[in-house]
């Protein structure tokens, strides 16, 4: 329990101290760095509730050995809301009623950002495929897909800086 390293999270270098070598990134984010948005449920890469971006790539943070992510750019959902204001994807989730219990929401928001950054005009099938790694037991997904479609339309009508 004496590992020390620095992770670059949401644009800031964060020191991790007194860690155990085998800790995954989700655990370090939540328990050592106090970033509680990413959620732990399955701890085996099946539910997507721990999704974060590592060097702009969507991954399950529960499957990343935290100490191996030194030098990578890590972005959690906390890093997508600039100065506390919701991102367009977050606002669309609220507006469409895509949030119910909220447990899957942080992972889905990160996944939706990754999808829209890579594919600004996704088809319905593409949205379903790309969000298939994020399990939601409340909504039935319809409103989540609608939220993503709304953001795609809004970004086309009002081009903006990528978030």
């Amino acid at each position: 329990m004496n590992e020390q390293y620095t992770l670059h999270v949401n644009g800031v270098d964060r020191a991790v101290t007194d860690a155990w070598l085998g800790e995954n990134l989700l655990y370090v984010l939540r328990e050592r760095l106090g970033l509680l948005a990413a959620k732990g449920a399955c701890e085996q890469g099946e539910c997507g509730s721990c999704s974060v971006l590592v060097d702009d790539r969507l991954v399950c943070s529960c499957l990343v050995l935290a100490a191996s992510a030194v030098g990578r750019r890590i972005v959690t959902v906390e890093g997508l809301a600039e100065r506390g204001a919701p991102s367009d994807v977050q606002q669309a989730f609220v507006d469409t009623g895509a949030v119910q219990c909220g447990f899957c929401t942080p992972g889905l928001i990160v996944a939706a950002h990754a999808l829209l950054d890579r594919s600004p005009d996704p088809s319905d099938l593409e949205i379903r495929e790309e969000l298939s790694g994020n399990v939601c037991r409340c909504t039935g997904y319809g409103r989540i897909i609608e939220a993503v479609q709304r953001v795609a339309v809004a970004r086309r009508e009002t081009p903006q800086e990528p978030s």
Partner: protein
């Protein structure tokens, strides 16, 4: 810090030479599950725990084509999402199909071809493809480089021929002229471990059919009797095969499987599924002659 992140193959080999019992970490999609569940220590043996994270080794992340031998050599660190997109998807269609069935987008972004080999689960989705294509695996380690047929590399359930301190560097596959595809049955359509799987690859100039079966034995099985039968039964000049022969091909494939009952399925169901998948695959490969 007992985690080293080499950026070159030379650095990775040096780290493994110094710590031959280190855990080699690639995409982490298998290793972290075992660590999270407490099923796997970071390192066995007497020395202190040590991890060599190879996901930033440039040489492992690339691929090259050798036009003279019509082969492609893919770095062990190439991920499923790279295999399922062009240009690799057009070059290796069955490997692309298999890659699309792996886990979720998050898993396909992280998981690697080399990791699938090193884990060597009978249900590994890339493995039936590598078997059907007679892949050759390149390894490097303290006693130098060696190559090995994938059939010799896969020793048993989650057991390989990898020696201590040895690293999978790449996989060489033939660029075949002929139809190839992958088929998989699971308990649902997405994010599922194979209950049974099969890869069929045609080598048209050689007038041969290769069929490899997954999740129905300790390692991947080549259905050699079915292969020999198809080579004779196919009308190669017209890409045709009778419905009776397609059925017989499926029966021979099912007979070649050696499935077990476990928490995921039963031996009877798995053998049946292999027969159905093999027949469908060969019909897609050889569309003519049906009635």
């Amino acid at each position: 810090m007992p985690v080293v992140v080499p950026l070159t193959l030379r650095e990775a080999i040096a780290a493994l030479a110094e710590h031959p019992d280190a855990m080699v970490l690639a995409g982490g999609t298998d290793a972290l599950v075992e660590i999270n569940e407490g099923h796997r220590a970071i390192a066995s043996g007497a020395s202190s725990p040590f991890v060599v994270a190879v996901d930033r080794v440039a040489e492992l992340r690339s691929w090259t084509i050798d036009p003279a031998s019509r082969t492609i050599t893919i770095g062990a660190g190439v991920t499923y999402d790279e295999l399922m997109d062009d240009p690799l998807a057009t070059l290796l269609p069955a490997l692309a199909e298999a890659s699309r069935t792996v886990g979720s987008p998050q898993i396909r972004i992280a998981g690697t071809l080399g990791g699938n080999l090193a884990t060597c689960s009978p249900a590994g989705d890339a493995l039936p493809v590598l078997s059907a294509l007679d892949a050759v695996i390149q390894l490097t380690g303290p006693s130098g480089d060696r190559t090995m047929a994938v059939h010799d590399f896969m020793v048993g359930v989650k057991r390989t021929a990898l020696a201590a301190g040895e690293l999978i560097t790449s996989v060489t596959l033939p660029l075949l002229d002929g139809w190839q595809g992958y088929s998989k049955v699971g308990v649902r359509n997405a994010m599922v471990i194979a209950t049974a799987s099969a890869c069929l690859a045609v080598d048209a100039p050689a007038r041969s059919v290769r069929l490899a079966l997954g999740s129905v034995g300790p390692t991947i099985i080549r259905a050699t009797e079915a292969e020999s039968f198809a080579a004779e039964a196919v009308d190669w000049d017209h890409t045709a095969m009778s419905d009776d022969d397609v059925r017989r091909f499926g029966e021979l494939a099912g007979a070649a499987s050696r499935p077990i009952d476990d928490h995921r399925s039963t031996a009877v169901y798995r053998r049946h599924a292999i027969g159905v998948m093999a027949a469908r695959l060969v019909r897609r490969a050889v569309p003519g002659g049906g009635s």
